[in-house]
């Protein structure tokens, strides 16, 4: 008995250690999930390689993603477009045969969306392409990726930083992006 705090601390130590270990566990769990199951590199229905198309063959992004130039949404090429080249090129490849199968069945390819903005955001690709932005500034070096991965979180801070730095007119007005 007495004023000393030491005995109390001794009693509390095991509980404190449990809390500490639990917290460390929480951090590990949180970041382990992000590191090992990031969800930023989903498996696509067809193993399309941007590294081959945009990297090796240097096909410009806007050749396939034409809509980015004139529409708010960049769009993914139709199967029709794929077959535009692959009716002649690499027709033997098993992947291309798969594409051809979609084409023959008149079925769309269900690509998995990687860069997904919330529904309350208005992001016109058109304006950004017109402003001379490289696709890579938001999408990362896609031309080096076999399987595309999301490099940046595409969150509000990223938008604002760029809009501030490049002095977009009224670029930080909420209504510029929020709908």
């Amino acid at each position: 008995m007495g004023v000393s705090i030491v005995p109390t601390l001794r009693v509390l130590k095991p509980a404190a250690m449990m809390v500490a270990v639990g917290f460390v566990g929480l951090l590990i769990g949180y970041f382990a999930n992000a590191a090992f199951f990031p969800g930023t590199t989903p498996v696509q229905p067809i193993e399309f390689s941007h590294a081959v198309h945009a990297g090796d063959y240097e096909i410009p992004c806007l050749y396939c993603h034409t809509e980015a130039r004139r529409s708010p949404s960049a769009g993914v090429p139709s199967v029709n477009k794929c077959m535009g080249c692959h009716a002649i090129v690499a027709t033997d490849s098993p992947l291309i045969r798969e594409v051809a199968r979609y084409y023959e069945n008149n079925e769309p390819i269900p690509w998995v969306k990687i860069h997904d903005l919330p529904d309350f955001v208005h992001f016109p690709h058109k304006r950004h392409v017109a402003a001379g932005l490289e696709c890579q500034e938001c999408h990362g070096p896609v031309e080096t990726m076999d399987r595309v991965t999301r490099m940046a979180p595409n969150e509000m801070g990223q938008c604002l930083t760029c809009h501030r730095d490049s002095e977009v007119e009224h670029g930080i007005d909420c209504l510029t992006c929020h709908k």
């Binding site: 529904d119 309350f120 058109k126 304006r127 017109a130 009224h170 909420c174 209504l175 929020h178 709908k179």
Partner: protein, 254 residues
Amino acid sequence: MSLIDDFLARWREYRAPGYYEEFDYHWTMTVDLDRCTGCEACVTACQAENNTPIVGEEAIARGRHMQWMRIERYWEGEYPDVKLRAIPMFCQHCDAAPCETVCPVSATYHNQDGLNAQIYNRCIGTRSCAVYCPYEVRYFNYNNHHWDAPLEQQLNPDVSVREKGVMEKCTFCIQRIRQAKDAAKDDGRRRVQDGEVQPACVQTCPTEALVFGDRKDPESGVSQMLGNERAYTVLEELNTDPSVVYLKKVEADA
């Protein structure tokens, strides 16, 4: 030191009336009450354009209608000398808006185009803006709204569908303004020309009672209307400085 200077500069800017020394555009709408018949075509146009929910009979009975645009009706006199006076009422986009000062998270604010902006995904739902608004034109999402399939296929992809707990109101069809600005840029112009943008209600009004445009352009249709001697604003005594200007109804001495 520069930090303090910066702070003071921002503070002054913040305190300036309407936050802006000068608006870029000053979107304004005029409503000619002598033309308005109260037919409510604008109400449906707004509902179709802005994904305003269908709330159901029970919700309306509980006072939870959501149409951003409503027609207020006031009877004057008794039978047989009775008159009905209708007035469309929607967000007045006040330059000195009471709602803007009260929102603790700045989900509603004034932007450089003279618009009273409402950022749905910033809103935390204190509903104080609705209390402060003397025009009662702010509508709260008391619950998530549902569209029976396939009605949801009609929803306008340019406008968010608001979730429960969020305040919403007329935006002067910001999506159309945005689109017009975009089109102007495509044409290599910086400014939107008069008549290039019309909110859904203005577009559809069968009696052409509504006119929308930029007040800063002295040649614009809306500027001409503002010069009309019948122009007045509703609840002028509150000094909210609305961007919606009404033109008095003309009544003959029948």
